[in-house]
Symmetry: C2
Subunit: 239 residues, 2 copies
DNA sequence: CGGCCTGTTGATGCGACTCAATTCAGGTGG
DNA sequence: CCACCTGAATTGAGTCGCATCAACAGGCCG
């Protein structure tokens, strides 16, 4: 019993070592963090936490994919963020004395590590490097949020989609060029919610891009045909 | 010369003591911060920094008001955030190795304290309390950004305006009730940009609210008449 | 007084959401 | 192995919110 717990902590420490958030953190600190981390699994479709609820701690996604959503009364939803393995989520709720700002839902079966608020904050005070990493993480999230605000307020759907495709390509291949292929996350309905629109509009926009010779669509994959025109499309604004 | 510099630092330290970001910070640390802070003034309409430029540090607004904006090619702009006295801005750019995410423009003559990136980061590593405050500040900003995203993606203009009025009232009087009055920031054109719309639409929406008996409008001031209906309006979504 | 900026009001057009019908793919059970 | 069911994707027609364009009124200042 005691021995398996110790082994378990060791495994968790191994995992933490590879996470960006904990880069540059000493082994002793990692060990402390590994001990406080609680393994939590969630099946597909499960709600991990709900908007407005008091924050108990934050999560680190190990495997699977989750979405953070805001939803309206009639069930329409906007996906604030898609979270992949190695990323943390709900960090902000831990520091600001604020409730969870959105609802987290598992898109696939997920394995997470949960860091309880109290112990984590206590440890944070003793680890400037961790605080620094956390600040960097939050800053980059904020940067992304402001980009989304810009998109929603100033750009139309076609520009948002074009930018998304380019970003996805950049993220996957490290460059943007004709012929490169990238795949869409989960379903198109999800992507539509992420782009702040609905599946019908996304479908129409994709087929318009196709007929304009910007992209090729095959199943869940998109091949870039005309990167230059796509880039110009991404700049376009509501004018 | 040396003496005036010392007095100057003392004055700055006095100021810092009252700022939320530095609450709970010891006098020695405050003194260090006061010494590194550079007084910078900006006339009305001045650009403090521009989106995309490399971040040199962040600012603390002492007097005046500034707006952080994203603008499109044709000159239409969206105000991400209005900053008042006592608030810091551009903090995130300092931690994330990212450029300034938006452009900062003075709406009035402004006095600011500028904290250069290097010295501030160095000091941050030695002050867990400061790091903690900074995390709390960023978290609350993020919370606000996600609310804005929700508004833009799921709500229509009338709901956004209703929520804004209620928030303003809450912020000014600490409660929401019929008869309470709150004032609008700068011009209505600015407010429109903050709500993600344009002045014409804002004007129409305000007069509709008035004819519905929700509010009274007088010059730059708004008086709440029907808080319940206003609250219901704020929930409304695009359906 | 004449310019300028802000705000208001009307007419028009466009983008995108809604609703509805249909097709398609995947998984299940008989 | 095929019929069936469910959820996703597509396509068309209609509607609506809101941006655009344009004209005009009021306040402020040189």
């Amino acid at each position: 019993m005691d021995r398996t717990a110790k082994e378990d902590t060791g495994v968790k420490q191994q995992i933490l070592r590879r996470i960006y958030l904990f880069s540059g953190i000493g082994e002793a600190d990692l060990s402390t963090l590994a001990r406080m981390a609680v393994k939590k699994t969630f099946p597909r479709q499960a709600t991990i936490f709900s908007e407005g609820k008091e924050a108990q701690g934050f999560y680190l996604l190990i495997t699977g994919q989750i979405k953070m959503v805001k939803s309206s009364l009639e069930g329409k939803e906007y996906i604030i963020r898609l979270v992949g393995p190695g990323e943390s989520f709900a960090e902000a709720a831990v520091f600001g004395e604020i409730p969870y700002p959105a609802t987290a839902i598992a898109l696939e079966d997920c394995l997470t590590l949960f860091f309880p608020k109290g112990p984590f904050l206590q440890h944070l005070a003793a680890s400037p490097a961790l605080a620094r990493n956390m600040l960097a993480t939050l800053s980059r999230l904020m940067f992304h949020l402001t980009k989304q605000l810009e998109d929603l307020s100033l750009k139309e759907v076609s520009a948002r989609l074009a930018r998304y495709i380019l970003e996805r390509c950049q993220h996957t291949h490290g460059e943007i060029a004709a012929g490169l292929q990238c795949e869409l996350p989960t379903t198109k309905t999800q992507l539509a919610a992420y782009l702040g629109t609905i599946s019908e509009t996304l479908s129409r926009t994709l087929s318009r891009f196709k007929s304009l010779g910007l992209i090729e669509v095959d199943k869940g994959k998109i091949t870039i045909v005309d990167p230059v025109a796509l880039h110009k499309m991404a700049q376009g604004n509501k004018s």
